[in-house]
């Protein structure tokens, strides 16, 4: 039989230990005070020797010499920072759902989330300090649908999905891994070889055509919203008209009745059939046909939700920026952006955030990564672009390595504070998670207690708090 590897006791929220996702965390009482040697309040802003007061899972105070309320649970740590947020993940989405390609704007990742899946990967991600993630199913579909932000240590099943429909996601020109094929080569000696040609990329025109499609989808969303607004307007107008007409009819009713009786009389006399006078009024305006997909597109066009576009190559990025320029309220976020460095200034000017995955690529990577430059995150940040760092949205296990990815970006020239912001406050801001991403008054107490700087290899995450609950306890 297999040897049982000896493992240190690792206590985790019951969510992960048991099958159900509703967690019964270590009871802490309602009040927690964290005594910290150093608090990274937000990237670049560090307070030394302060205490953090948490009441009912929310940060109430961050100050030195705090008086500990009676009955409060006290925790001490060297460095405290906000829980990390992976802005580009598939943790909790099964690989078959990630690979699926037939989606529409109204398809919801929230529906393909498996609260019972990836238990171990979630546990590992939490242990490395990631407490939330934006997840996207059907990644390779041109329109992937709505993505969700999940909490990796939820306190209840409602809490599991932190934001069900956080943004609309689309992608431009991704290589379809199912494409390509095999060729059969017979050698002179009669032996044969089967050669796999590997997946083939779309050509540039197809990719550009996808940008067109995305732009026309957005336009259709706008048209839909306009039609809806027009209908509301027309309907109000019509009702007004009808009300007036009714008043008129009521006023004229006696006369009409008299006339009618008279006409019936006359008809009888003449032995003719009585003919009703035809009633005419304005036609009722017709409501535009409900379209679930256009509802979502309209929201995106209106900036009610962000739109995340995975796009990599120069040609598509250039055309995308051009084609989306007319949509003034669009809140666009670029994911991937392998060759986005060339557009840094434009991106900064239009306040388009870019989610970079600074992972090194081998020669077997798809052609969209041909222009991969490890320095991208640094280059963009330097130009003032809002850079987020994500684990790439392909493998659930990658979210665990989010802090390492941020460290890699630093190694390739990004400022350390910017890299830390790219996995905490940045994603929180871009995806409207106003209660996360910083250690300050009013935020949800998603905190990491560390023995060193958050991006260092040798730092250990000792305790993780989510909503004030301990979900990772220190190793023995």
């Amino acid at each position: 039989m297999r040897k049982l590897p000896i493992r240190s006791a690792f206590v985790l929220s019951a969510l992960l230990a048991s099958a159900a996702w509703s967690a019964t965390a270590t009871p802490l009482g309602d009040t927690v005070v964290v005594h910290a040697g150093e608090v990274i309040v937000r990237p670049g802003e560090v307070l030394k020797d302060v205490d953090i007061l948490i009441i009912d899972g929310v940060i109430r105070r961050v100050e030195a010499g705090l008086e500990v309320p009676e009955g409060a649970k006290e925790i001490t740590g060297a460095v405290v920072c906000a829980g990390m947020i992976d802005p580009w993940s598939v943790l909790g989405v099964q690989s078959v759902e990630v690979a699926f390609t037939a989606a529409s704007p109204a398809t919801r990742t929230a529906d393909s989330l498996n609260p019972f899946g990836h238990e171990f990967q979630k546990k590992q991600a939490l242990r490395s300090g990631v407490t939330s993630a934006r997840v996207q199913a059907a990644r390779r579909a041109m329109v992937s649908g709505l993505c969700s932000v999940v909490s990796l240590a939820p306190s209840s099943d409602e809490d599991f999905v932190a934001r069900a429909d956080a943004a609309l996601s689309v992608s431009i020109g991704l290589t379809n891994p199912a494409s390509g094929g095999t060729t059969f080569v017979v050698n002179p000696d009669g032996t044969f070889v089967v050669r796999a040609s590997g997946p083939s990329a779309m050509d540039t025109f197809e990719r550009i055509a996808q940008v067109d499609k995305v732009a026309s989808l957005l336009a259709s969303g706008r048209t839909y919203r306009i039609a809806q607004n027009e209908f509301v307007h027309d309907m109000a107008k019509w009702k007004e008209g009808i009300e007036e007409k009714v008043k008129e009819l009521e006023k004229d009713f006696k006369k009409a009745k008299k006339d009618r009786d008279k006409e019936i009389e006359e008809a009888k006399e003449k032995g003719k059939e009585f003919k009703e006078e035809r009633y005419k009024e304005d036609k009722t305006p017709q409501a535009p046909k409900f379209d679930a997909d256009k509802e979502i597109l309209a929201k995106a066009v209106n900036g009610e939700i962000p739109i995340v576009v995975e796009v990599h190559r120069v040609a598509e990025i250039r055309y995308l920026l051009e084609a989306t320029a007319p949509f003034g309220r669009l809140r666009m976020v670029i994911a991937g952006g392998t060759e986005a460095g060339a557009f840094a200034e434009q991106l900064a000017a239009r306040k388009i955030a870019v989610i970079v995955n600074p992972q090194a690529r081998g020669a077997s990577a798809y052609d969209e990564f041909d222009g991969h430059d490890a320095a991208l995150a640094g280059v963009l940040a330097e130009a003032g672009v809002d850079v987020l760092i994500g684990s790439g949205g392909q493998t659930a296990g990658a979210t665990r390595d989010l802090p390492l990815l941020a460290a890699m970006a630093v190694g390739e020239g990004m400022e350390a504070d910017a890299a830390f912001a790219a996995i905490t406050s940045g994603p929180a801001r871009v995806f409207d998670l106003s209660d996360r991403g910083a250690v300050e008054f009013g935020k949800q107490a998603d905190l990491l207690i560390l023995d060193g700087q958050p991006l260092s290899t040798t730092t250990t995450v000792q305790t993780v708090l989510v909503g004030g609950r301990i979900v990772v306890e220190p190793k023995e």
Partner: protein, 479 residues
Amino acid sequence: MIHFTRRDQRTMKNSSALLSLLLVASAPAASAADGKLVIEADAVVTLTGETIENGKIVIVDGRITAIGADVDAPWDAEHLDASGLIAYPGFVEAITSSGMDRPNENVDVAPFLDVRDSIDPVNAYFEDALRSGVTTLNIQQGPLCVVGARGHVVKPVGRTVEEMSIKPRAGVVLSAAPKRGKSRATQAQALRGAFGDLRRYLEKTVAEAKAGNDYAKREAMYQGREPDEESAKGRDLECSAWNVEGMKLVPRWEIDEKQAPLVSLVEGRIPAFIYCQNAMDVRVAIEIAESNGFLHKTTLVVTQDCDRAVELIAERGLPVIILGSLTRSEIDEETDEMEEIFIPKVYADAGVRFALRSNNATTQSLAYQAARCVAHGMSREDAMRAISVTPAEIIGVAKRVGSLSVGMDGNVVLYSGDPFSVEGVVQRVIIEGEAVYDRATDVRVRHLEQGETPDNTEPTDPEASEDDEAKDDEEEKEG
């Protein structure tokens, strides 16, 4: 993407119309004189009441009129001497898609269809059901749908569906697990879309009716008439989750036949059976049922690792029907250890009512499934309940079948011994007072259990047999 067990399909494939006809034809010959029958057995296991030693069951006109050790039988009743045998109520198959021509409809949302049009009364499946002591079957469309056809509860005898019928329009199947060509997200989207469409359809219908009335009023005024009396031929929507104001304006018969069954569903008038393949599907199933007001009429049809969502199911008090293998193993990614889980026990321990389903009529019949529960430490009573009373309750026929008591259908299965033991086999089956099965004259039992090869099962065409072989091999691989 729930698959029918291969065995189901094979049973259907091996069906022999001839054998079934023989059986069906022989049934009326044994019918009771004037519809009165007395069965005298060594023991009568009623399930809901006491077990009666040397008991009698009196069946008049298909219903049980008396049951007990000392009951008076009508003087003119036919006597069935079941000495040496034990009487049980017939078992209840909680859900099945066997016994009909293709079990799945390709259209996503098709509650306007009815499985009755697909049921094949001479399918050998029904004969196999009798042989394994099943007297009630809930036939529903298969799991490859979004919203499926309406089902039908039948008994496994009769020459037509009408003769077989116990309860028509016995529910609608929905699937939270993706059908072919759909992902979980698009399946959920389609499910939600079906009810969204329904609601918008009703709203539009009401709005049109209202606009029509208003117009008629104005027209009357213009023409100098008194407006017609408004006649409310419809009634309010009785859905606990959402409402459409003004449904009184729309008579029910005016509702599109494609939408009408869904109206019954959201009003909780018919049961819903929702297929769940994995635990994650349970969440979607519950959400759809809850947000459309039919959770209280919902049964989850569960397979694979759905038991991981047992707390969710228990919280809502939903019953489940367990399909497929009763055991599964889980491997811990961190420790690499394997754990074996006996699925019914997980539900039982969480207080979830569950029904079992057979995987085939020979090696994994309903009685076998229940016996495995006993092997895994559950009580005989609980195990027996899972194939009789519970499924009868779930499909809404508990007042007629699933146990033996006065007033219930005269369905009695006479066993030679304990149905859970290796010796206990079905000797006779009586349905609504008619003796419909006798092991002594069962041709197919000699084929399946006693090795006798009926001539027509021997492959005659060598080419055809090659094909079968290839298929078998393929199936082996799949297994």
